[in-house]
């Protein structure tokens, strides 16, 4: 499937937004926090065209970035044709402290948002910026407003007054666009391909892929697994592909046996050969327009059995849908690709999705050999990983990120 282009008029959009930004600022200064993603970069480019040096670009280093990301982003944005002067604001300790021992997904996201705006607001006050330009897009405010999950960049839509709380007025030039439309604008603005075509990376970064409590060794495992997944899936991973790290902690749950029976029946494999684990970590999902912070189950069958049937991906996709339909508590079904040391503390899940606008998403049929190669490399590089899984769940009932 290829992403369809709409009859969206980028030229008219750019012209009207530049005029509007200039008019709203009326000679005042504005601040923007850029991440190197297409949304914030497109907004920065629009604002820069509108007001030039009255725009202050900062990159907040939250500590939840990928390897070497702050430096790379700064270099890319400073270059021609964007030529955006970027200042890096270091705030790793502050974010880590705010997240603390929280293991609940929403608590983590809210602590992140709070710290993000406090940091931004301090810089804005120091620099006398009374406006904040922000790259919020449609799914951000739709999901926050609908109570599915707290996006880090949504305030006004849920009744928080940024003027009162943080001292700036928010301008959101692309709030009614979806990702594919933002890319059309980015290409029109001649933003480098590395950015205009870059896969999305969440505002709270790796925080929402470090499922449950953040611990240094767990976070390190995630940071190591991320480039491995990105490297192998660069051309085959769909619109978004990443690694998430989970605790290898299994719950004794009454649904375990019925799930095992269900898997056995639908894959036609003896139930003694099917292993179902129910993890202690939970994951964010969406069912019938409602948030469900649900259970995660992992399914494994012996490799010889799987080989008899080939990859089994279509069967597994149906299985996922069946399991979640009948078991309302669950929002994620993972398929175990390879096991490492059984008692190692963490699991890694690989996720790859196909979508246009990130409102619905399907899983990508990655060749089995590629998944196996990723799993082997992760297990080799990260000795504290017990299992490497592939996430079989579409959106709905899952969301794209785990938290």
């Amino acid at each position: 499937m290829t992403v369809q282009q709409s009859e969206f008029d980028a030229a008219a959009f750019v012209k009207s937004q530049i005029e509007e930004i200039a008019q709203r600022l009326g000679g005042e200064r504005a601040i923007i926090a850029i991440s190197g993603g297409v949304d914030s970069t497109t907004c920065a480019a629009l604002a820069h065209k509108a007001v030039g040096k009255d725009l202050l670009c900062i990159f907040i280093d939250t500590g939840f970035m990928r390897l070497d990301e702050p430096r790379k982003v700064k270099a890319l944005l400073s270059m021609h044709p964007l030529a955006l002067p970027v200042r890096i604001v270091r705030a790793q300790e502050r974010f880590m402290e705010a997240i603390g021992q929280n293991e609940d997904a929403e608590e983590k996201r809210k602590a992140f948002r709070e710290t993000f705006y406090e940091t931004l607001s301090e810089t804005a006050r120091k620099e006398s910026c009374h406006f904040l330009i922000q790259g919020t897009i449609a799914p951000d405010w739709i999901e926050t407003k609908g109570g599915i999950k707290t996006q880090h960049n949504v305030l006004e839509q849920i009744g928080i007054s940024p003027e009162e709380k943080y001292g700036f007025t928010v301008i959101e030039p692309i709030a009614n666009l979806y990702k594919d439309q933002v890319r059309v604008v980015a290409r029109y603005l001649e933003i480098p391909r590395e950015i205009s075509e870059r896969q999305p990376f969440p505002g709270p970064g790796l925080l929402v892929r470090c499922v449950g409590r953040v611990e240094p060794s767990k976070f390190k495992t995630l940071k190591q697994s991320t480039p491995i997944v990105e490297k192998h899936l660069a051309t085959t991973g769909g619109q978004q592909f990443f690694a998430a790290v989970l605790d290898n902690t299994i719950e004794d749950h009454p649904a375990k046996e019925p799930l095992q029976e269900q898997v056995s029946e639908s894959l036609k494999i003896p139930s003694r050969e099917v292993k179902v684990n129910i993890l202690q970590n939970k994951a964010t999902g969406v069912k019938g327009d409602m948030r469900v912070y649900g259970r995660i189950a992992s399914v494994s069958i012996p490799n010889e059995q799987r080989e008899v049937y080939g990859w089994l991906i279509e069967k597994l996709r149906e299985l996922q849908s069946e399991l979640i339909s009948v078991n309302p508590e669950f929002t994620r079904i993972l398929y175990t690709i390879k096991e490492g040391k059984e008692r190692a503390p963490y699991d890694v899940a690989i996720r790859a999705i196909e979508t246009r606008d990130f409102m619905t998403a399907d899983i990508v049929t990655i060749p089995w050999s590629t998944l196996m190669a990723i799993a082997k490399e992760i297990l080799k590089m990260c000795p504290n990983v017990a299992h490497v899984h592939y996430d079989l769940t579409s959106k709905p009932p899952a969301t794209i990120e785990f938290e």
């Binding site: 109570g147 009614n176 979806y178 019938g288 327009d289 339909s325 246009r356 619905t360």
Partner: protein, 199 residues
Amino acid sequence: MKPIVLVVNVRGQYNHLILRILTELGAESALVPLSVSIDKLEKIGFNGLVAGGGPQTVYEQGSRRELGNLERLFKENSKPLLCICVSHQLLATALGGRTDLAKKPEYGQITVHVDEEDEILRGTGPSFTAWASHNDEVVHMPEGFERLAHSQDCNIEAMRSRNRPTYGVQFHPEVWHTTKGRTIFKNFIEIVKQNASGK
């Protein structure tokens, strides 16, 4: 002239996507709140109406109260109307049918089997891939309605009134993964145009 098709925002995840698809297909469109009255709609001037999905449960009192105004709209409006997901359930319930907890809820990919390729589902048969996200379903259609489509787990995926241009669908034609979604909206816009020109 562009037809004006307004979208009642029922607070679901995909309501804004309805606006996007209608605009892309050449209609004038805007989101209007759940509390909008028929007088207000007439004042804006509209040729057709789409009511989106939402998190409500139509057989629960709180939800029914929240949707009370939309229910009134359904009864007072005579222009082409397309109801999606929870609005489809509300339409059925409001006009004397029944909605209940689905035996097997559908989340994500399903196959819709078309029973009747009438004007709204023209060009979509015999079956197509659609995406759904619902805990409840219509179990009895109101009198004067007929079924247009079903799926393996949901008996009434689409229905229409025999007496007026009113349609209900349980799946989401507005999301990208529904393969014939655009066709359904094109058909609806065509119905709106014909209705507006008095044919």
